[in-house]
């Protein structure tokens, strides 16, 4: 179960990341402009990535624990 949740989460994030990073020049998502604007942009994007990965980790962890408690105690 937890692997399915992790896989679906990863697919969603990969899809969003792919869409954001492979945006063309006229796209509304301006990755190259953001990175050119300031070195801080890369830090902000990396930090957001850390939040996304950590959130998925805790969502999967807590869901599995709650589900396990539900199975054990009903």
């Amino acid at each position: 179960m937890k692997y399915k949740i992790a896989l679906i989460s990863l697919l969603i994030i990969t899809g969003l990341s792919f869409g954001a990073t492979h945006s063309s020049g006229d796209s509304i998502f301006q990755l190259s402009e953001a990175l050119d604007a300031s070195p801080l942009s890369a830090f902000v994007l990396a930090f957001n990535g850390l939040i996304i990965i950590t959130s998925i980790y805790f969502i999967v962890k807590i869901t599995v624990e709650v589900w396990r408690q539900h199975i054990i105690h009903g």
Binding site: L16, F29, E33, A37, S38, L40, I52, S55, F58, I62
Partner: protein, 157 residues
């Protein structure tokens, strides 16, 4: 017939999703603090609180995930935000709330589950834990409220 075409604009729809993330996360933070405040008055509810606390944590992290994904896309739409001092301040509060959340989930919540059975007895361990958990709760509320205020100012100035 209401005009729903603005929803097709990614600027609008992503802002709405971002606000939904705030509502889920901040709603869970506030309800957690209210329940924990109630627990101080009625220690008998500790075991019940320990059972439902993971659900509130789940809501906070779900809100965080929505905020981080929509926030990244919004940032890529408005890269000039990186020069805004208010944005810097907002990201500092986001960092504070994020690391505070990690602390809450890795140390505070497991410790609370461990102490819930002796909560009624008001042991020294329980009192010391209440101080740490109280500080984390204050950091959380002040951080989230500051993020809301700064987010509003960034969007409207």
């Amino acid at each position: 017939m209401a005009d729903l075409t603005p929803l097709l604009d990614p600027h609008v729809s992503l802002h709405i999703i971002h606000i939904i993330g705030v509502v889920i996360a901040v709603g869970a933070v506030i309800i957690t603090d209210v329940v924990n405040g109630f627990l101080h008055l009625r220690p008998g509810f500790a075991e019940w609180d320990a059972k439902i606390a993971p659900l509130f944590s789940l809501m906070v992290w779900t809100g965080f995930l929505i905020l981080a994904v929509s926030g990244t896309l919004l940032f890529l739409m408005h890269p000039y935000l990186i020069h805004d001092t208010l944005f810097h301040a907002k990201m500092l509060f986001v960092a504070a709330v994020f690391f505070n959340g990690v602390l809450l989930n890795t140390w505070v919540t497991p410790k609370f589950e461990e102490l819930s059975e002796e909560w009624d007895e008001r042991t020294e361990r329980v009192k010391a834990f209440e101080v740490v958990a109280g500080v984390a709760a204050v950091v959380s509320v002040i951080g989230w409220m500051s993020i809301i205020v700064l987010g509003y100012l960034i969007a409207n100035t």
